[in-house]
Amino acid sequence: MKIRIKGLEFSYDSIQALKDVTIDIYESEIVAVVGPNGSGKSTLLKCIDKILKPQRGIILINGKDLKDFSQIEIAKTVGYVPQVVKQLFPATVLEVVLMGRRPYLGWKCSKKDLEKVFAVLKLLNIENIAMRDFNELSGGQQQKVLIARALAQEPEVLLLDEPTANLDIKHQLEVMEVIKKIVKEKGITAIVAIHDLNLASRYADRIVMMRSGKVFAAGEPYKVLTPTNIEKVYGVRVKIIEFDGIMHIVPLDFP
């Protein structure tokens, strides 16, 4: 067991975002967290990275309580990939990815750190844009740069907040393939908050479906992404078609 979440509760001021969330996540798998807007996907990710501190419940990573991790220890264990936002100040791709080495750095940045950054850039096939300004890149490239930064942390767990939002279909596939590749090659556990149910079913080993802060269903894609579940959670009727061994969710209408 990589991560065990038990009875997690989190509230923003008066709004309760997570209610009694209990999930087990295994090593080296892709877990997709799906659910409508505001169902608590991002909040869940932020709790796992201790960006937000849950009011109740426990999170164990490798059997150790998250509360006992120092901030630097978490930074070395869990990498967080936020949604792409525009940078206010200029920064090159290399500088952005180098930030991922922050948990390991003293004041000086060694040759070894730079080598690690170059290795990550190469792994994601973005070494050719290393010296470009982050803001000048396309959305897909920016997303890969942010994944690269998280990988430079050498984490065991990668949290991705809607990594395919605002990307065209080619880049959506590319980004998901990259996640699949690093999970396979590096044995990383990836937890992906995602809206696209088709991408989720295609790439995730398991799916956690959330509704208003609670886990509605969890398990293998074909068990969770059923027409009944989707209708209950999203209020949309769908048809599931299997084509070439891949399941496709076709939205029909409102019930």
Binding site: Q71, I74, V85, L88, P90, A91, L94, E95, W107
Partner: protein, 352 residues
């Protein structure tokens, strides 16, 4: 194939770092050259060779003649004060922009200057007619200038204020303090109003050997502390608070620390010089356009460039209408403004 691109990138990165170092060396040289020129200029005619022999002589013994005294007790401290003040203002400006993630943020937008102005005005106006010890004005300006910073830090600490709220609170305080200053000036004696007004424009006329070590120590300590935080500011500026946390940085704690150090540095300078504006906004931006945003290089570059800029402006202020000495604040605005606009228009890529 792959590895050739990688080694190309590595070479490119080395050149990129090299350019930054080159800029730092260039600005250092600039300071030395401008100092050398500035020492020879002034209303009292002293030849260039004489100036240098006086400086060399006075390094080991006390000045004796009038000429020696002019060079050593007037020009040299003024040059040093210009460099130190420029460096300090530019460093605190650069750091404030970074931690608040706002290109307009400087210690001034956080209300420091108007608070210092009020402090000085109170000291000047309330002690009218009586001899005003210059240290009363300096001390009062210094104490007042720290008020807005503490208010903002309290807001952040107890109300969880975001950087945006902090800036808005700073601007609100700026208006409050200038309003109180205006009321005070409205009812004060003309002489006191005049000297309070001149204090606020800011100039380096109060330079003397007495104050140099004090300000220099303050710059040295604050700069070292800011430099120590260069990585954390990089992280906060590039990634925002949430990602900063996930990278092991506490944005709230670092922001408080850096604001406190920058405010102290700014206050310790402007309480001697008056409110010399603009350097702390413009110098970091010019350096950012030149060498990019990495604070490990940007901070020292901004400090050096700020020093060079203020020194150049002061040299012009002393000589352009000689024997009249213009307040340096005016020259910084007249020179720095167009320079900044030019760079904004000429810059090749999107900046923010």
């Amino acid at each position: 194939m792959m590895d050739t691109t990688l080694s190309q990138v590595k070479r490119e990165y080395e050149r990129y770092i090299g350019r930054k170092l080159l800029f730092v060396i260039f600005t250092s040289t600039l300071i030395i050259v401008v100092s050398g020129i500035s020492a020879t200029l002034g209303s009292y005619p002293i030849s260039v060779s004489e100036v240098y022999s006086i400086i060399l002589k006075c390094l080991v013994s006390n000045p004796e003649s009038t000429k020696e005294s002019i060079v050593w007790n007037l020009r040299v401290p003024r040059i040093l004060l210009a460099i130190i003040a420029g460096a300090g203002l530019a460093s605190s400006g650069a750091m404030t922009q970074g931690i608040l993630r706002n290109p307009l943020a400087t210690p001034y937008t956080l209300g420091i200057s108007s608070a210092a102005g009020l402090g000085a005005a109170i000291a000047i106006i309330l002690s009218k007619g009586i001899f005003v010890g210059k240290y009363i004005i300096i001390g009062n300006a210094f104490l007042f200038s720290l008020i807005p910073t503490f208010v903002i830090l309290a807001l952040a600490r107890f109300k969880g204020a975001t950087p945006e709220t902090m800036i808005l609170a700073g601007i609100a305080m700026m208006y409050i303090f200038s309003a109180i200053t205006t009321i005070l000036m409205y009812f004060a004696e003309p002489e006191a109003v005049k000297s309070a007004y001149f204090w606020m424009i800011g100039d380096l006329g109060k330079s003397s050997w007495e104050i140099i070590p004090m300000i220099f120590m303050s710059l040295l300590i604050c700069f070292a502390l800011l430099m120590w935080k260069a990585w954390d500011v990089n992280v906060m500026m590039i990634s925002g608070d949430e990602v900063a946390k996930s990278l092991g940085v506490s944005p709230e704690r670092e922001r408080m620390f850096i604001m406190l150090v920058s405010a102290f540095l700014t206050a310790s300078i402007i309480s001697f010089t008056g409110t010399i504006g603009f350097i702390c906004l413009v110098a970091p931006h010019i350096c950012r356009i030149m060498i990019g945003g990495d604070y490990r290089y940007l901070l020292p570059a901004s400090a050096l460039f700020g020093g060079a800029l203020l020194l150049t402006c002061d040299t012009i202020a002393r000589t352009i209408l000689a024997p009249v000495i213009l307040p340096v604040g005016v020259v910084t605005n007249c020179l720095g403004g167009p320079m900044f606009l030019y760079l904004l228009i000429k810059r090749k890529k999107e900046y923010w």
